[in-house]
């Protein structure tokens, strides 16, 4: 472990991190709302766009090297990124950059989330990060990634998967992880028919949030391996993460505190009933620096 003081320690981890926000998917399930734009660019909450949430989480967590991978109907998203997130200062080594699909490797566009990162490995190498934080551009939530990085570094793992608790009956919609006592992932199944509950927690399963911290060197290795596989869909959730925990080094998960069916998946549907919630809003919201390590 590198440092002595917790605050300083986390800030050195976030500085060593490049965040990649995956924003290239079609998002057809939002119907007409994404007719002319990628889902991350969809307006939300009166004056925001969905992608403002992971981006704000990065900045609030102290991660200021961010690349957004775009492909499908990207114009609206790019204009928003330029207007809203164009103020970063290159002199300080900080940026929000756009990585459009540009047939970097061969004549194909981004074939999946993992392929999108694979096609930008050269770019990533130039940044020389120690950690790579993979985020989805279409999730609405607040989270301090610094805590996730700290857990990742302390565990000595190659990859850490962000998870949230969901009721088993809704677990079929997510990638579900099974963990052992030491918090390591023993199984990862995308959209399982029979989701396994957390040991000792009847009716609750752990869903992947689609958020991963990789050691940069390890990421490169698994992406190179995956790229060579012809039957792979080159997708983090379907191919990379289920593969890496088998026979490799520890693959712990970070359990983001949240009540039952909340969290980033947050917006998965929740019935029509109107609820006025009281008390501390959103326990999955963690504030920067509030937690000693």
């Amino acid at each position: 472990m590198k440092a002595t003081k917790p605050g300083r320690y986390v800030s050195s981890l976030t500085r060593e991190t490049v965040a990649l926000i995956l924003a290239g998917g079609r998002g057809s399930r939002l119907k007409a709302l994404t007719l002319s734009r990628a889902k991350p660019a969809t307006p939300f909450g009166g004056k925001y766009r969905i992608i403002d949430f992971p981006l704000s989480n990065c900045v609030n967590s102290g991660i200021r090297r961010i690349a957004v991978l775009t492909q499908y109907k990207a114009h609206d998203l790019i204009v928003h990124l330029q207007r809203a997130w164009g103020y970063f200062r290159g002199e300080f080594g900080e940026f929000v950059e756009i990585l459009p699909a540009q047939q970097q490797i061969d004549a194909s566009w981004y074939k999946g989330t993992a392929d999108a990162v694979f096609q930008n490995l050269e770019y990533l190498r130039r940044q020389e990060p120690e950690f790579v934080l993979i985020l989805a551009g279409d999730h609405i939530y607040k989270m301090d990634y610094g805590l996730m990085l700290a857990q990742h570094a302390e565990s000595g793992a190659e990859i850490t998967v962000g998870t949230v608790e969901v009721p088993v009956e809704r677990a079929q919609e997510f990638g579900i992880v099974t963990i052992d006592e030491s918090n390591r992932i023993s199984r990862f199944i995308e959209k399982p028919l029979h989701p396994e509950p957390i040991p000792g927690r009847e009716g609750i399963a752990l869903a992947s949030m689609g958020i991963y911290v990789f050691n940069a060197a390890f990421l490169e290795r698994v992406l190179l391996e995956d790229a060579a596989l012809e039957d792979s869909a080159h997708d983090f959730g379907r191919n990379i993460v289920p593969g890496v925990h088998r026979g490799r080094r520890a693959c712990p998960c970070l359990r983001v505190p949240g009540r039952g069916n909340q969290g980033p998946a947050l917006l998965a549907r929740r019935g029509k009933r109107r609820r006025v919630l009281r008390g501390e809003p959103g326990t999955y919201v963690r504030r920067a620096g509030a937690q000693p390590l």
Partner: protein, 150 residues
């Protein structure tokens, strides 16, 4: 936000007294780009026309003119005309709602001009014929669908 229902619900929740997603937390601000827009405005206070918004979020550039907006989110630059009622609805940017409309449980997509007297969200069969209705009964109305009506 997996689908239209989730998108609707997530927006609507922001109007609650203490939603899970707190946009007013100054320790964890959500940054964005905002056009320079004039303040939201609520006009008319006659016997039968009151410009009001209750349990709602109303963005910059909006004018609610002699209409009632309830449990709704109005994105930037929305107009609501007199004697109209907007309830439990998500009104995307630059939407103009005419006079004497009743919009309930709907998402009105960007740049849509809702003609005077249009009723959305009361007759499911009619809504299904003209608009897109989700599993949970949220009515999605787009500019193209409105244009196809005339």
């Amino acid at each position: 936000v997996g689908n239209v229902d989730a998108f609707y619900e997530a927006n609507l929740e922001l109007t609650y007294v203490a939603p899970e997603l707190n946009l007013y937390d100054q320790e964890w601000p959500i940054w964005t780009y905002q056009a320079q827009l004039p303040p939201a405005k609520f006009v008319l206070d006659d016997d039968d026309r009151h410009g009001r918004a209750l349990n709602s979020m109303v963005s910059g550039g909006c004018i609610v003119s002699g209409a009632l907006v309830r449990e709704s989110v109005l994105f930037s630059n929305v107009r609501v005309g007199e004697r109209s009622l907007v309830e439990r609805s998500i009104i995307m940017p630059n939407v103009e709602i005419g006079r004497s409309c009743r919009i309930t449980g709907a998402i009105i997509d960007e740049d849509t001009e809702v003609p005077d007297g249009l009723v959305v969200g009361e007759d499911p069969a009619e809504d299904r014929r003209r608009f897109f209705v989700t599993k949970q009964g949220v009515v999605l109305v787009t500019r193209g669908m409105i244009e196809a009506l005339s």
